[in-house]
């Protein structure tokens, strides 16, 4: 039983170092310190275990999240309206466009946060704060950027340049008129 948790500790330590997304790394680090304090308990050191649980699992998590406030999050909403064709083809097209966008985000040191949703474009614009909306209808992709986000010119040129070889039928538009932004 001890060996199971030791192996799991090594796995989560490697994953917390290797993952490119920082908020996932915070979750992995919380699990790592949870396991390590249980291992302290199995080595019959309960006082160390209680200190590790308080400091490592809670206080360090909150400290890292407060530090991550400085790190910009790039929120991407993804909708997929028409569901024609095979599942594999749909998944491949989705992976291709998202790979382009996430490549841009790692280039600019932004953290991409992709949310799959079934709402329409106007609904997203009214209800959520967003940076980019990617709408896929069959082969055609429409990308809509928010005017508030100041990476909008960068991602436009990046996508149009990278898309020449890829063969998505891509259309880029910027939100024209700034209405009131919801909560």
């Amino acid at each position: 039983m001890l060996k199971v948790f030791l192996v799991l500790m090594v796995v989560f330590a490697v994953m917390a170092v290797q993952t490119p997304k920082l908020r996932q790394a915070v979750v992995y680090l919380g699990i790592f310190s949870l396991i390590s304090s249980f291992v302290y308990l199995l080595y019959s050191a309960p006082d160390v275990a209680i200190a590790e649980a308080v400091i490592g699992s809670t206080l360090a998590t909150i400290l890292y999240l407060v530090a991550l406030k400085k790190y910009a999050v790039y929120t991407i909403y993804f909708t997929d309206t028409v569901d024609s064709g095979l599942e594999e083809a749909v998944a491949a097209r989705r992976a291709r466009i998202l790979e382009l966008v996430e490549g841009f985000c790692t280039e600019r040191e932004l953290e991409a946060h992709v949310i799959y949703t079934a709402e329409g474009k106007e609904q997203i614009q009214q209800n959520h704060s967003y940076d980019l909306i990617v709408m896929q209808e069959g082969e055609a992709v429409t990308v809509c950027g928010s005017r508030e986000s100041y990476h909008v010119d960068g991602i436009r040129s990046h996508l149009l340049e990278k898309d020449k070889g890829a063969g998505n039928r891509l259309r880029f538009q910027v939100q024209t008129e700034e209405e009131e932004v919801g909560p």
């Binding site: 199971v4 799991l8 796995v11 308990l41 649980a53 308080v54 699992s57 998590t61 991550l68 704060s129």
Partner: protein
């Protein structure tokens, strides 16, 4: 003897629920896995306290319950408000 076998089974189940943390496509799946994993760790601590007949280990279980709750609530609020706490 029975308690040791139960602890071994529970640690294998904890390993299986850690698989959801590794696989999970979204961030919320990982949070769900964290919740399951911490509740299994608490069960393991209680069973360990039964096996060794030391009642002060249950205080550690109580601390784990409260701290896991606080950290999960904190991360979920953080994701919902997109970086503003």
């Amino acid at each position: 003897m029975f308690i040791e076998a139960a602890m071994l089974l529970l640690s294998l189940l904890a390993l299986a629920s850690a698989g959801r943390i590794v696989l999970g496509p979204t961030l919320w799946d990982r949070l769900l896995g964290l919740n399951l994993f911490s509740s299994k760790i608490i069960m393991l601590i209680v069973l360990y306290a039964v096996a060794t007949e030391r009642s002060y280990l249950l205080d550690i279980a109580l601390v784990y319950v409260l701290l896991g709750f606080i950290s999960i609530i904190f991360i979920a609020e953080f994701i919902q408000k997109k970086g503003k706490i």
